[in-house]
Symmetry: C2
Subunit: 286 residues, 2 copies
C-alpha cells in the first residue's frame, strides 16, 4: 500500500480508504485505482478479511454432490459467488443429522460470512449469529428460505396430465419425513384434482422408512390387471422416482407414454446436458 501511495502521490490513509471501500473523493479514488493497476496490486482477501472481520467466504451445506440436482445447485451457487469475489466452502452431510450440526459448528468457527443450507435434521438449531439462507425448508421468520414454487408445480403437473387426456391420476411421493417446501408438490396436485373433481389417489412414503420404491411397485402391480393399469397419469415427487416407476411399468409390458403418462419433478437431464430423463416440472437450469 505504501508503494501505491507513492505511485499515486497520495497519503497512505487515502489508499487504505479506497481499498476498504470507505468514502473518499472521486479524483483520489481514480488516482489510487490507476496506480494500483500500474503496479499490479492485488487485494489479499484473507488479510482484508482479518481487518474487516469479513472472510469473503460462504459455506454451502448439502447432503451430497453426486445427485444431479445437488451437483447442479452447487455449480450455480459457486459460479454466482465467484462472480461476486466470494469463495465457496462445501460441506456434505450424507443426510446425516449429526453431520449437519457439525457442519454448522465448523463453518461458524471458521467465520464464514454466511451459510446456504439444504438440511434435513428436524432438530437443527439455526440461530441468527450468522446469516443463513435455507433451501427448501422453512425454519422461521428470521431465516430466508429459497424454493421453487412447488405448489404451482404440483398444479401444473395435474393440469398437464389432464390436458393430455389422463382421467385416473396418481401421485407418488418419496422424500424426507421432515416437512419441507417440496411437500407442497403433493398439496398443489391434490388441490387441483379436488377443484376439478378428478379421480386421483396419492401415496406418501418417507425416505427414513427405508422401503425403497418397492411399495410403489407393489401398489402399481395390485392395480394392474391383464396388462392394463388402473391409472393413466402418474405424477412423481422427483425425476429419480419417475424414472424408476417408468422402468417398472415398462418391465411389466405397460407402454409409457402410450398407456400411462408420467411426470417427474426437478427437470434433470442425463449427464446434466439437454437430455431429460423424463417429462418433468423443471426447477433446474440446464
Amino acid at each position: 500500500m505504501k508503494d501505491v501511495a507513492r505511485e499515486a502521490g497520495v497519503a497512505l490513509g487515502t489508499v487504505s480508504k479506497v481499498f476498504n471501500n470507505k468514502p473518499v473523493g472521486e479524483s483520489y479514488r481514480k488516482k489510487v485505482e490507476e496506480a494500483a493497476e500500474r503496479l499490479g496490486y492485488q487485494v489479499n482477501i484473507y488479510a482484508r478479511g482479518l481487518r474487516s472481520d469479513k472472510t469473503y467466504t460462504v459455506a454451502l451445506i448439502l447432503p451430497n454432490l453426486y445427485h444431479p440436482f445437488f451437483a447442479r445447485l452447487a455449480n450455480e451457487v459457486c459460479k454466482a459467488l465467484l462472480e461476486k469475489g466470494y469463495r465457496m466452502i462445501i460441506a456434505t452431510t450424507d443426510f446425516d443429522h449429526q453431520a449437519e450440526e457439525s457442519c454448522i459448528n465448523m463453518v461458524k468457527q471458521n467465520k464464514v460470512d454466511g451459510i446456504i443450507g439444504l438440511t434435513y435434521n428436524p432438530h437443527l438449531q439455526v440461530d441468527d449469529s450468522i446469516p443463513f439462507v435455507s433451501i427448501d425448508r422453512i425454519f422461521g421468520n428470521n431465516i430466508p428460505c429459497v424454493s421453487s414454487d412447488n405448489y404451482m408445480g404440483g398444479q401444473l403437473a395435474a393440469a398437464k396430465l389432464t390436458e393430455f387426456g389422463c382421467h385416473r391420476l396418481l401421485y407418488f411421493r418419496t422424500g424426507s419425513a421432515t416437512f419441507g417446501e417440496c411437500d407442497k408438490r403433493g398439496s398443489g396436485f391434490e388441490s387441483y384434482c379436488q377443484t376439478h373433481k378428478l379421480h386421483y389417489d396419492a401415496i406418501y412414503l418417507n425416505d427414513e422408512d427405508d422401503l425403497g420404491d418397492d411399495p410403489f411397485y407393489q401398489y402399481l402391480d395390485e392395480h394392474t390387471r391383464d396388462g392394463v393399469c388402473d391409472f393413466d397419469g402418474i405424477f412423481c415427487s422427483t425425476d429419480l422416482l419417475a424414472t424408476h416407476i417408468l422402468k417398472h411399468l415398462q418391465s411389466r409390458g405397460i407402454q409409457v407414454p402410450g398407456q400411462v403418462q408420467i411426470i417427474g419433478y426437478d427437470g434433470l437431464c442425463q449427464f446434466n446436458l439437454n437430455d431429460p430423463f423424463c417429462s418433468s416440472i423443471a426447477q433446474c437450469l440446464q
Copy 2:
C-alpha cells in the same frame, strides 16, 4: 485455554502444547484432553491457522460441478477432506483458461494449504510455492498427478469387445486438445489391437474444434450399408460419447448390443446411482 489449564490443574503452556500437537508427557495430554472435553472446548481452526500458518483448507479446481464425473469426484474429495478436518473450497472454471489462472491466483492469496486441480489450460503455470496435485494431467516431476490406469482401461476395452466376439473394432475419442493422461485410453486400445493383429480404426476429435459428435455420426453413416455397420465393436473415450453413439445407432435401426457392442469410459450411472448409462471401464465409485 486458561479455563482448561485451571480445570486440568496444569500450566497454560502445557495446554498449548497439547492443542498444537507438540511433544508433552502422556499423563499431561490425557489430563488436558479430559478437561477440554468436560468444558466443551473446541479448537478454533481459523485461529489455529493464523498461528500455525495453516488454514486447514484445500481448494479443488474443476471445470464444473454438473458433469456427473466431476460431481462424483468433488463429492469424494470433500468427504475425504472433512474426515481429516479440512475444509474444501471449490472453484469452477467452465473450461476457461483465463478462469483457471484466476482461480490459482485467488486460492494462493487465500493461503490455502494445497490445491487439487483438474485443468485444461496448456500454458497454466503451477509453481511449487504451494502443494498442488493434478488430476489427469502431468505438469512435471514436482507436481504429483492422480489418474486411473487409462492405458490398461483401453486394453481392457479392446480385450472385452474381442471376448464378446467383435472382429472389426473402432475407437472414438473426444476431449481436450491438451495432452492428458486420458489420452492413454486410445493408446492402450490401439496397442492391444496391434499386438493381437485385430482390424480396427480410430477417430480422434478435440473439444476445441467444437464439432460436437457430428463427425462421429457422419463416419458411422458412411460405414453403414443396408442397415449393417462395418464395425461391430466401438470403444468410446467417455460414457457421454458412448451414450450419444448408442442413441445414434439406434436411430438408424442398428441394434445395440445385437449388431454393434459399445463400451464407454468412466463408469457413470443415471442419477449417479447403480444404473450405468452403458457398458463402461469404470474409474468412478458408485
